[in-house]
Amino acid sequence: MFQNLNKYLIGSLLLLVIFVSSANGREYCDEAIAFINEVTDETLSIINSSEFTKNQKKSNLSELLNKNADFETMGKVMLGKYARKLPDDMKEVYTDLIQKMLTKTIYDRLDNDEEEPDVTYGIVNDSCRTKGSKNREFLVDGDVLKDDSRLASIRWWIIINKDQQYKVIDLTLAGVSLTLQKKDEFTSYLSNKSVSQLINNLSKKFD
């Protein structure tokens, strides 16, 4: 009788561990989706606003991304193995340039220069999955519903940082990841040039 009881206890404990860990992931995923919905809504309200000029929109978007994105990590992902070659005194300048570059890229990809811009609504059909080893990284997929009823796919890669805040580290628009695209460019550039030259090149374009 006690042997059977042991079996049940072990089985229940195992199930409990599995349930708790998956419920934990689900709970974080719910929070991740809520965070992304908020960021997407704010981004779209800036892009679609008729009150702001183009420069004001870029400045507001920059502020929003500064609050919600981890540019330092994004910059390191883009440098890949070359991140070790980034001198300490250039780290801040480099991260600042990455912020300017990504803000411009995201703005350019979401906004169009038409006289009648596409009015985009919030994110729909969202889903989330965890990645990495600690249930702290998430891929949130969704579709942005445009006013012509078309759906544009969007994917955010976010991470919970050491201060327990959600931070964006990549944005995939229409199947193209910005971080991976830039990483590829930088890798090619750095195969025959130095990190300082890369920083000079970026400052000419984005400073």
Partner: protein, 277 residues
């Protein structure tokens, strides 16, 4: 009896431990290998687990020359035509023309939906074609999207990918741009099954060329801003386009479903391994 049960229990625990250990080490090994290659060693530099450019773009030197040639042709002919088209035709008109040309692609999309065994997407394509050709006035309108039948694309190269045919190396083809042998083969088959190919065969050359040129101008107009922005913000435009092409194709082949590869890069795993993060 008690000893027998204990042996069973010990065996069960050992088996479970081995399975757990193997599972953890297998996925960890994939991730470690990817990160080692990307972040610690001087070994080749794949931009993502799926793309190793040393293998994928072995003809980079030739491809860059062809890319420069295509750029020159684009700047001299296609881009000015696309710009003029944008200046002359208002947005509403351009959208109608885009819809019309897209509607003509429906038979090719349906052909590939069926070959890929995608019943739901095939039925969606049929519904779109019927609705847009009738209610949408020969395809100039797109009421099907409003009625819950959104547009998707399929081509024969995607069908080949679904059946496991490798893409082959990256090739920049003259005038057509980024491609792979699989994509080129796909284009030939798509061209052959396109109903207009058969219809235009009996028409004079003017019609045939007009259709081809219209398609190119309409497609280029849609990309005017995107390509300008990418070129302006890129440190290496050739690499940007190559990467975008690869990512877009992988997304199209997977129908937008994200990969569940265990080797997918993760910041936490990189930190676990005490790398640059």
């Amino acid at each position: 009896m008690v000893a027998k049960i204990n042996i069973h229990r010990i065996l069960f625990v050992i088996t479970l431990s081995i399975m757990l250990f193997l599972h953890t080490t297998a996925s960890k090994a994939d991730i470690s290998q990817f990160i080692e290659e990307n972040y610690n060693s001087s070994y080749v530099e794949p931009s993502s687990p799926e793309i190793d450019y040393n293998t994928f773009d072995p003809f980079e030197e030739t491809n860059r020359k062809m890319f420069a040639f295509n750029q020159a042709v684009d700047k001299a002919i296609l881009k000015p035509m696309a710009q003029a088209y944008r200046d002359i035709v208002p947005e509403g008109g351009r959208e109608s023309i885009r819809n019309f040309l897209r509607n003509l692609e429906s038979p090719t999309i349906l052909f590939n939906d069926i070959l890929q065994g995608e019943e739901e997407r095939a039925s969606n394509t049929v519904n779109r074609f019927v609705i847009n050709s009738s209610v949408g006035f020969f395809g100039f309108g797109d009421p099907a999207t409003d009625m819950g039948y959104p547009r998707h694309t399929e081509d024969f190269a995607q069908t080949l990918a679904v059946y496991g045919v490798e893409s082959g190396p990256y090739i920049v083809s003259p005038l057509f741009g980024p491609s792979t042998p699989r994509h080129i083969a796909g284009r030939v088959v798509d061209f052959a099954v396109h109903p207009l190919t058969w219809y235009l065969q009996n028409q004079n050359d003017g019609y045939r060329y007009s259709y081809g040129i219209s398609e190119a101008v309409v497609a280029r107009e849609e990309l005017l801003d995107v390509l300008d922005d990418i070129e302006a913000s890129s440190t290496d435009y050739y690499v940007s386009i190559r990467n975008m092409y690869m990512q877009r194709r992988m997304d199209e082949i997977s129908n937008g479903v994200p990969s569940d590869e265990p080797s997918e890069f993760s910041i936490d795993t990189a930190r676990d391994l005490n790398l640059v993060f």
